[in-house]
């Protein structure tokens, strides 16, 4: 049986005046039903563009130039725009970081949740409205019957994020992509939202791609984790294994720099420098300038993913 989602060789580029920015440089990822895959990296590493590519929502002047994205065996990149619209929001749904900018301020939240039900499931206005109340109750919004008449600005950040999740789940999608779903929220509310997502994913056996830079959330929630750097996946493994035995120097550096692992008052580990310019081609490993173990050859050779342990892939010629 084909995987729920299988991305191979994905390349997404932006044609800018100053050159071609290669944001995603050959990404391979697989998500199975019921699985949570965490996609981790720092700003500009291409994680959000990878997600946007799956839904074919890359903002212009960006475009997908190579690769395939198979959803239950069907290549999404080969579909007509009309067929794609039937999948978007229906079989693959997205939860965005900032609910204030992704909810429409001039419609009530009830209307916005019901919209997907009317379009994709063909429900009548009344039936969709009833179902919207049901969904908002499911995601833990108290007195949902009254809240459906509220506009987004009348709700708190945590409540808006719940509305976003209700919208995403409205059509019982098979795959949910959540881009930093709790970054804008306080920790006590974040914990509530993550518990909710976990419960719903398990109940409905949905696949989840969780995009985040919060490694604590990843460690607690994801089955598999992929680390992205400069448009490439540099390491991917079952989550517990990745945190127990990180192999790529970037992953190791990232973990070592966390205050959680530092001794209070002592220096934290850091790596010097910044990410490389993604305009044009990068020869060799994009991390070599900042790498503590890299050498000249790392800048010349094309480095492929290799399997260091069962299911543990790493893109580095120095390990294991």
């Amino acid at each position: 049986m084909p995987a729920l989602l299988e991305i191979t060789g994905l390349r997404t580029e932006f044609r800018l005046k100053t050159g071609v920015l290669k944001a995603v440089r050959g990404v391979d990822l697989t998500v199975e039903a019921g699985e949570t895959l965490a996609l981790v990296g720092e700003s500009g590493c291409g994680k959000s563009i990878t997600a946007a590519s799956v839904l074919r929502l890359v903002p212009p002047p960006g475009r997908i130039v190579a690769g395939s994205i198979r959803f239950k065996g069907e290549d999404l990149l080969a579909l007509s725009e009309e067929r794609m619209r039937e999948i978007r929001g229906n079989r693959i749904a997205m939860v965005f970081q900032d609910p204030m900018t992704s909810l429409n301020p001039v419609f009530t939240v009830g209307y916005q949740v019901a919209e997907g039900l009317r379009i994709h499931r063909g429900l009548s206005g009344e039936a969709a409205a009833r179902e919207a109340v049901e969904l908002l109750t499911q995601v833990g919004i108290p007195a949902a019957k009254d809240r459906v008449r509220d506009y987004p600005h009348q709700l708190s950040g945590g409540m808006r994020q719940r509305v976003m999740i209700a919208m995403a789940l409205a059509c019982s999608p098979e795959l949910v992509i959540a881009d930093e779903p709790t970054t804008a929220l306080d920790v006590t509310i974040q914990a509530q939202i993550l518990e909710l997502l976990d419960r719903l994913m398990a109940q409905k056996r949905m696949g989840l791609i969780l995009i985040t830079h919060n490694l604590g959330i990843v460690a607690e929630r994801a089955h598999r984790t992929a680390i992205m750097y400069a448009g490439e996946i540099v390491e991917s493994a079952p989550t517990a294994e990745l945190f127990a035995t990180p192999l790529h120097p970037y992953t190791r550096g990232l973990l070592a720099s966390l205050p959680e692992f530092g001794t209070p008052g002592e220096k934290l580990a850091t790596f010097a420098g910044g990410v490389p310019d993604l305009r044009g081609d990068l020869a060799g490993c994009p991390f070599r300038e900042r790498c503590p173990i890299g050498d000249d050859a790392c800048g010349r050779e094309t480095i492929e993913m290799s399997e260091a342990a069962p299911g543990h892939l790493v893109r580095c010629r120095k390990v294991p």
């Binding site: 306080d186 920790v187 509310i189 914990a191 830079h213 550096g253 990232l254 959680e260």
Partner: protein
């Protein structure tokens, strides 16, 4: 030893209007905060958004006046300071802001941004200031060659270094830093944390560090204070508060942080519901509607911030019963 900075029963209220014909109501952002900061110490002030921690920072730097209460700097009341004393205070207490993108003037060159405090406080002259700016840039890990550039030419981490250089320009004794690393990427966060620690150690500064990130709080603070809905609900040494909290809100905050280390994962004590509105705070203990241990008295009587064990104070009626039972 006399504290460097003391806040007593600090209150800040704002009038808010519900709508065109609605009655004017009062939003209490800070509802009676007591703080003490000793020379050479780092005090970490933590809490979730809307708890009033940034308002406390702005009150302490004198950017806004308190509604009531007092702030004392080396025993002298801020509200009674002469103009000259106030200018000295503003020189000795500097601020570092969260967002390095909006806190630097985009039309000024780095040399002007970092040199401006010297000009305002009339320290040095042209050449002297130039040398000082060069020295400050080196101090924060930038190069004097960066002097003639504009903020947009720098990354977030570099901009935060510029903000720190500006704060250090007039040789302050106390730095109030409001979420200085929250807007930065992980690998950059560690660099700025290290820099703040370096300057603290080398220059013998005191720090008031405001954050919502408890792992950063643990790393940087000597003492910590936890705020909830305009009040301090718990305070004590770093290890006391973060290893053995005596307030249910601190416990809920600590257990809500997702941890990488499976050994550190405790059972999740989830705070129910959301932060109440500071316009109509709950009666009694402000945390009682969300507290898993709340009893009837919690809704009636507000608990005072009292010393429960030497050095550690908590505002909870049942600290002893909930958290200190096994110790007895």
């Amino acid at each position: 030893m006399m504290p460097l900075l003391t806040a007593e029963n600090l209150v800040k209220q704002y009038p808010v209007r519900g709508g065109m014909f609605a009655e004017k109501r009062i939003l209490t952002a800070v509802a009676g905060v007591d703080l003490e900061l000793h020379p050479g110490e780092t005090l970490g002030l933590a809490g979730e958004s809307g708890c009033g921690k940034s308002t406390v920072a702005r009150l302490l730097t004198g950017l806004i006046p308190p509604t009531s209460g007092s702030i004392k700097y080396e025993g002298r009341e801020l509200a009674r300071m002469s103009k000259a004393e106030l200018a000295q205070y503003r020189k000795e207490v500097q601020m570092v802001f969260q967002d390095p993108f909006s806190s630097l003037n985009p039309r000024m060159r780095v040399a002007e941004i970092v040199g401006e405090p010297l000009e305002i406080h009339r320290i040095g002259d042209g050449d002297g200031r130039r040398d000082k700016v060069a020295e400050l840039l080196r101090r924060v890990g930038l190069s004097p060659e960066h002097m003639m550039r504009f903020p947009h030419e720098f990354s977030g981490g570099q901009r935060q270094r510029i903000g720190i250089a500006r704060a250090l320009a007039v040789s302050p004794r106390l730095i109030i830093a409001d979420e200085p690393v929250s807007a930065l990427d992980l690998s950059i966060q560690a660099q700025i944390i290290n820099l703040l620690q370096d300057v603290k150690k080398d220059l013998g500064l005191s720090f008031l560090f405001i954050t919502h990130d408890l792992s950063v709080l643990r790393h940087l603070s000597d003492r910590v204070a936890i705020m909830y809905l305009g009040r301090i609900v718990e305070t004590g040494s770093r290890d006391q508060v973060l290893n053995r909290p005596l307030h249910p809100y601190t416990e809920a905050l600590l257990s809500a942080i997702p941890s990488i280390d499976p050994k550190k994962r405790t059972r999740h004590v989830i705070a129910k519901g959301e932060l109440p509105s500071p316009v109509s705070p709950p009666s009694g203990c402000p945390f009682h509607p969300r507290c898993p241990y709340a009893r009837p008295v919690c809704g009636e009587k507000r608990p005072e911030l009292l010393e429960k064990v030497p050095g550690q104070r908590a505002a909870c009626h049942f600290s002893e019963e909930i958290f200190l039972k096994e110790a007895k």
